[in-house]
Symmetry: C2
Subunit: 393 residues, 2 copies
């Protein structure tokens, strides 16, 4: 149990090379890391009921999956930007917070809204004080600042809030990225000063410039306003840069982060990105890929990625993934999943989401198991070589 | 257990006035009647996984729901027309039949395709032999006859097939309805002659003309080609006629049907229609209303029908229906359901479908309970008076 004054506790259980096995204690349960957080943008992990969400992953424990932690997700991510627009923070607070709102008993992390401002909103003005913007839905004007963002996340009752940052676009100059990063640092300090009941993670920026990333880690990690950040994230990646450049940043930055706090790589990524992120020392991930791909019929399997619409699955009686024991893989065939998809049945999105998220959750369990047994390196090697073999089929 | 040569067995357990409590034994389990069959048009009850389908209804048994039969559905309906177009009967048969195709262990009834021919397809020619038509999806030509329809249903492995009939439009003359009915009777005989392993129900037609309905019952009930029909349905209702006219037909026709076989009222209806249908002596119902309404945000509750989009639910922390213990009502609020609906979240359809079908299933359980305890008449009175009170609110 967390003591009353503590918002979050992190225990580094063991390491295997740079890979870390950990436990994050929150007011809504323990999270075994490395962990993947399904994205529930508007307090809904798209296509699933919260009941289904909690049942995700392998149905029956097996030796393959006997890793630390349960099969279902222990933490999900919600989007501050989307929730402040609809249904609005007042309503979420009045209804008892995001957990009660969506009937979710696990932990919740929210982003700060910063990323969505740059990707979705119509921005009126970015000032030192904060950002004036208009809703992408109906043009309503809003204002977000470090204080209002952390305030909103706290009022929604989340376990982990994120500092309000500016996310610079890929391709702008070193000087512009530096200027943006410096504002992120000033905003980080104001975010930290606003922390009350929710744990708060700082965000490292700096684009693809390693010197800036180093400075950013040093400044964010050192911040102390009634305590340091409860965890630190690498932000501003997966914004259009080539995959190699992203991993150059991640591989350089992750080891610089304090070892005694959770490390979160924001918005990443593919299954191989998760494996490579863990190899760099990352503890937490989130990405819309498994849920979004599911709705588009693009499915992750232990034998590679497939598109269920493909005619070769029309009469395929086998399970989507013979090595998966999720509800989808144990109850229906590839032929049935293709039938649902080509006929635009809503259940296609449901079945596909159940599987893709279960695949991600099972992968993280397998990763944790391999770290626990000091075999992460060979696990990674096997995983990546299977992947490249399957892609060459 | 059904004996090897039997396709279906019906036991009339008891009556309470005209209302009947019964048991229909099929190769895929026993069905407690009166029963409502959720509609799974393309081998998918829209918005739900088969796993969710099997978990529908009240989650915990209570005195209120201690009625004969489980809370989940014991039988569903699939559409022959839709399945013969996509994915095609060859594929369904090759994949082991509809049960295996959709991972469903309960019973399956299919309609004959007759109704969809008149409502959806582009008909080329109706002849004595059968109907030439083109798919409403891609124009592919098909042919359906009594023999091919029963053959397709049988090849899909359904528990109960329906005879191939012609469904006359509402508003045509007595002479035209009579002519159509006579063809339905000739087709009924050919359907019955085609029966092999699936049970087969005959269909009574005759439009809104009671003299024709009487003749139709007499001819369909008397048909005997290696045995009589395993059950008899009232077809050709709910095709545009006023509700009063429909119930004039049902109230007149149902008592004429043989008491020793299941009686099925096709395509009906609202909750009050089900209660009134049971009062007329009907055993089986199907309707797209609970699933279609769910997707449109129109929800059935013990306090009347509501539209979840209504702004008065925006901050409503209460359950959708305080008297329901389905997953939706026990895990999320009206405010959350409205939030999902107005944001076009797929989960809105899922939650709403879970509830609407659970409402129907729970209603049928309550009906069975009231017949078992000889109180159906007062149950019906209370139900209809609550309904008219709620509609006057």
């Amino acid at each position: 149990m967390l003591s009353a004054e503590k918002r979050l506790a992190f225990e580094l259980v063991k390491t295997d090379g740079a890979a870390r096995l950990g436990r994050v204690e929150t007011p809504h349960g323990v999270i075994d890391t490395p962990v993947f957080m399904p994205v529930g943008t508007r307090a809904s992990v798209k296509s699933l009921t919260t009941d289904q969400l909690s049942r995700l992953g392998s149905q029956a424990p097996s030796t393959q999956h006997s890793a630390p932690g349960p099969t279902g997700p222990q933490i999900i991510l919600n989007n501050t930007y989307h929730l402040m627009l609809r249904p609005g923070v007042d309503l979420v607070e009045q209804l008892g917070g995001v957990h009660k709102f969506m009937g979710w008993n696990g932990a919740v992390l929210t982003d700060s809204g910063g990323f969505q401002l740059y990707s979705l909103a119509s921005i009126r003005k970015i000032r030192e004080e904060g950002v004036e913007f208009r809703s992408h839905i109906d043009g309503t004007p809003y204002f977000l600042s470090p204080e209002t963002s952390v305030g909103i996340q706290t009022r929604m009752g989340v376990d982990i809030a994120m500092a309000f940052d500016e996310c610079p676009a890929y391709g702008i100059s070193h000087a512009e990225v530096e200027k943006s990063m410096e504002m992120t640092h000033r905003w980080a300090k104001r975010s930290l000063a606003s922390r009350t009941t929710s744990a708060l993670f700082g965000i490292v920026q700096g684009g693809v410039h390693l010197d800036l990333r180093k400075r950013s880690v040093e400044e964010i990690a050192a911040l102390d306003v009634n305590g340091a950040f409860d965890g630190i994230a690498i932000g501003g990646v997966s914004v259009g840069e080539p995959k190699e450049e992203m991993f150059e940043v991640v591989n350089y930055t992750a080891p610089l982060l304090p070892a005694d706090r959770p490390r979160y790589l924001m918005g990443v990524g593919t299954p191989e990105d998760l494996v490579n992120g863990v190899a760099a020392g990352i503890d937490m991930f989130d990405c819309v890929m498994p849920t979004r791909n599911a709705r588009n019929g693009s499915l992750f399997t232990s034998e590679g990625k497939i598109h269920i619409k493909n005619a070769r699955f029309a009469a395929d009686p086998g399970p989507l993934d013979p090595n998966c024991s999720c509800v989808t893989c144990t109850t229906v065939s590839r032929a049935y999943l293709r039938h649902l998809y080509v006929n635009d049945e809503i259940a296609a999105s449901v079945y596909n989401t159940i599987h893709n998220l279960s695949f991600y959750l099972d992968l993280m369990r397998a990763i944790r198991q391999s770290i626990a047994s000091n075999s992460f390196s060979s696990f990674r090697e096997g995983f990546l070589s299977r992947l490249s073999r399957d892609q060459n089929l």
